[in-house]
């Protein structure tokens, strides 16, 4: 079952009709509906192209949060071999919102870390919808230290609504954990590359995405606050999320102009969820290129360039 977003309603109708026709045809042999169904297919394709060639920022947020979008686990399963999950922060718990471990990427040992949102009710709850607690960031810190020590590049996959706003999370130092994770990203003497595969939610994303290279999927978003949150603060009305999404400049395209993301990875027509395999392969090629760019740099230069990159950020505004 395809999950349709609200703005995809007309598309759902056409695709539904085509499917219906074909279902009827399967039951009675005399009926030939293929021509009609194909016409509907073409209509759907045109509409899909129309919708996706001009997604508004808010619609991009919806696509970025699409439940069928490939998630961290899907990328790890497809792009890495010998994935060996490593658990725990050695202090309090293992945070299931954060996947992390060693693996091989194109045969090379790396550390891979990312937020996993889950794909059904059970796994979503298990993964806390991709919202990490301090233990998740502290696990990431530990893994980055391991990567540094054994000279393994770090790949991070960012997909989180934000850090978890919970009582325990606060008591155990959510802010300190995020701050230290960002700090660790800036310290390690190995390449660190990051891909925003869905939602880059605020500080919870920065803690992983403070990287030498940051790529974003075409319809992913990265923002200081969710459009709903921004709308409720600045517009005093959470329903103004469309306006807020517009104002925040959270799309990959705007972030590229601002120099925040280095690459945009094209998604299949209709979004990553319409061709997961193709999306994952594109992300794989991008990671390969980003790591390739960095492989000859010495530790010292890597760290120095990374710091300079962030210090220089913001010198570029959006051209009017």
């Amino acid at each position: 079952m395809t999950h349709y977003l609200d703005f995809e309603k007309p598309l759902a109708e056409i695709e539904g009709k085509a499917e219906e026709l074909r279902a009827i045809a399967r039951q009675s042999e005399e009926m030939d509906v293929e021509d009609e169904a194909k016409a509907l297919d073409r209509k759907a394709e045109t509409l899909l192209k129309d919708l996706y060639s001009s997604l508004t920022p808010w619609r991009k947020c919806q696509v970025a949060r699409h439940p069928n979008r490939p998630h961290c686990q899907d990328y790890i399963d497809a792009l890495f071999t010998e994935f060996t999950p490593l658990a725990g922060d050695r202090n309090f718990a293992d945070d299931h919102a954060v996947m992390g471990g060693m693996a091989r990427f194109n045969g090379i040992p790396v550390v891979v870390i990312g937020q996993e949102k889950g794909h059904d009710t059970k796994t979503r709850i298990e993964r806390n919808f991709g919202m990490a607690r301090p233990e998740g960031y502290r696990k990431a810190i530990r893994l980055m230290e391991l990567a540094h020590k054994f000279n393994m590049p770090v790949v991070t996959l960012v997909d989180t609504p934000g850090a978890y706003p919970g009582k325990g999370a606060e008591e155990r130092g959510q802010s300190e954990a995020i701050a230290r994770s960002t700090e660790k990203c800036l310290q390690i003497g190995v390449p660190i590359v990051s891909v925003v595969i869905g939602e880059g939610g605020s500080g919870g994303a920065v803690a992983f995405a403070t990287a030498d290279r940051v790529a974003m999927l075409e319809h992913s978003v990265y923002s200081v606050i969710s459009p709903e949150g921004c709308a409720s603060i600045l517009w005093k009305d959470a329903e103004k999320m469309r306006e807020a999404a517009e104002a925040l400049r959270l799309t990959a395209q705007d972030l590229y102009k601002l120099g925040i993301c280095d690459r945009i990875i094209t998604e299949p027509m209709g979004g990553a969820h319409r061709d997961r395999k193709h999306t994952i392969a594109s992300v794989g090629r991008c990671i390969e290129q980003m790591l390739g760019d960095l492989k000859d740099l010495k530790s010292k230069d890597l760290v120095a360039k990374r710091r300079k990159k962030f210090l220089d950020m913001g010198s570029k505004g959006l051209a009017a």
Binding site: A163, Y164, P165, G166, K167, A169, E170, E171, R172, G173, Q174, S175, E176, I178, A179, R180, T182, E183, C185, L186, Q187, S202, G203, V206, A207, T210, Y222, S223, V224, I225, C230, I233, L234, W235, E243, A244, A247, L248, R249, L250, L255, L258, I260, R307, F310, L311, M313, G314, S315, K316, G317, L318, A320
Partner: protein
């Protein structure tokens, strides 16, 4: 150069012109309701003389109490792009900025200065909650970087007073990028082996807490300051339960191991002098009245660079 100076008086006046203050002479403590004479309140650094409640204090007032003889020199902060995103909510960002500048008499939400405390030279930065909630945008990031660079260049400790609702939404992703940017500033200090002391004041929340405000060598908070990543309201909405008394307040964080100390504002200066002199390997401070820093510097410390 310093267009701000002319505006300092109005700032202080507007602070005391709030409700229930006839002739600007009295301020009602929002905690215990006591009417406080403004001179007395000001001398006590905006701490209620009856109940010890800590009210907001502007960076300029704070520095006047902090530095020897109230003397400090501002550190220049590189000007960022104005309104980089052309942000507009119900108001335009530049209009909000103008309103905040008019209200506070300050240019932005952070003031960086150098001077001496107990004859120990330091660089200090203070965030101004009255300026758009102290929110962290490019300017605040630049201010922290400028302060850290100045501290490293002159071999001085860096003391930072935080106060912010979080990131400056009107700068979108660029405000978020101040988390890594300010973290680089903290790393500069650490690599130079210079003390970085954070004083968290009410309130310090969001991305500010999750970056430079939590990375100090020493973490001090003012009493009852709200310090958190996610605010209490957001948490209550998420977990649908009432939060315990004092949750996310300075004393609560101290109990949960997130802070070194909770120190009243009126004792801070003394405490900072003690801590900094130990960290810098200097002899104990001389107790008693000190002359204002003059041309002749104390032997163990270089004089503040006067521009």
């Amino acid at each position: 150069m310093n267009w701000i100076t002319n505006y300092v008086r109005p700032t202080i006046n507007s602070f005391f012109s709030r409700r229930d203050t006839p002739e600007n002479l009295w301020t009602k403590c929002e905690s215990c309701g006591t009417m406080l004479f403004h001179r007395e309140l000001k001398d006590n650094q905006n701490v209620c003389t009856n109940c010890g409640h800590h009210m907001a204090i502007t960076p300029r007032e704070r520095f006047a109490h902090l530095f020897d003889g109230g003397i400090f020199v501002e550190v220049d902060v590189p000007e960022p792009l104005a309104d980089p995103l052309q942000f507009r909510d119900q108001k335009k960002y530049p209009d909000r900025m103008k309103a905040a500048q008019k209200k506070t008499g300050e240019k932005e939400a952070m003031l960086v200065a150098e001077g001496e405390i107990g004859r120990t030279p330091i660089v200090a930065a203070a965030q101004d909650f009255t300026f758009m909630g102290g929110s962290m945008g490019m300017y605040v990031g630049n201010a922290i970087i400028a302060g850290a660079e100045r501290a490293v260049a002159t071999g001085k400790p860096f003391v930072l007073f935080s106060a912010a609702g979080g990131a400056r939404m009107q700068e979108g992703i660029l405000s978020l990028m101040q988390m890594p940017r300010t973290t680089v500033a903290v790393q500069m200090l650490k690599e130079a082996n210079l003390p970085y002391i954070v004083v968290l004041t009410h309130p310090t929340t969001g991305g500010v807490t999750a970056s430079y405000a939590m990375l100090g060598d020493i973490q001090i908070a003012e009493p009852n300051a709200l310090i958190c990543f996610a605010g209490p309201r957001v948490i209550e909405q998420t977990i649908r339960e009432k939060l315990p008394e004092g949750f996310q307040r300075a004393e609560y964080l101290l109990d949960h191991g997130m802070l070194d100390r909770v120190t009243p504002r009126t004792k801070l200066r003394e405490e900072l002098i003690t801590i900094i002199r130990m960290l810098m390997g200097q002899p104990p401070a001389i107790v008693g009245d000190l002359p204002a820093p003059a041309a002749a510097p104390a032997e163990e410390a270089p004089a503040a660079d006067s521009k």
